[in-house]
Symmetry: C2
Amino acid sequence: MSDIEQLVTRYLKTWNETDAERRRAEIDAVWSDDALYTDPLAVAEGRDAIDATIGAVQSQFPGLVFRLAGPVDAHHEQARFQWELGPAGGEALVVGFDVAVFADGRVRRVYGFLDKVPG
Amino acid sequence: MSDIEQLVTRYLKTWNETDAERRRAEIDAVWSDDALYTDPLAVAEGRDAIDATIGAVQSQFPGLVFRLAGPVDAHHEQARFQWELGPAGGEALVVGFDVAVFADGRVRRVYGFLDKVPG
């Protein structure tokens, strides 16, 4: 697994970390100082806002897990990948797509889009 | 057509503009001052480099045209869209995918990926 695949995997894991202290430590490790996350439903500038956004999503979808839905396509300092959110081993309720931009081994930007939303 | 769809269409048209003066004027109008374009084969920082990159691609694929290959999915200041490069009315030789990030009505970043390359 490439460094970027490892980082994307670790990034997705932070979305599943429900222990507040561990989640924040992971966010600090994974995201750059000037982090920016934008998807259709949320704009989060900085680690505090990203942490709060992840916490809010976990409250909205308790017990569901984020996972990669396909390969990570990476070059230079950027990657695209599809992810899904669903019960462990069950069908996804939400499918999304992110382009992540990296700097110095951390995630600096995530530009998120949605492919499937609860209907 | 939304403002962002119009801007994406105009952005793609610059890739087809082979008159050097008109192309540069369009690049100046479409791209922000701190423009950055990155795809698997090219990193172009600033309008001079973007202009040179487009010129090089036109030399590599003379007579072919860029066109949108599907809808533009946009929210906030970002959009994703698939494009293709091929003869007018003919099958695409290259299919790509861009995430574009906007600021003040111009394109500021393009994060490009490739879905099909000449085999």
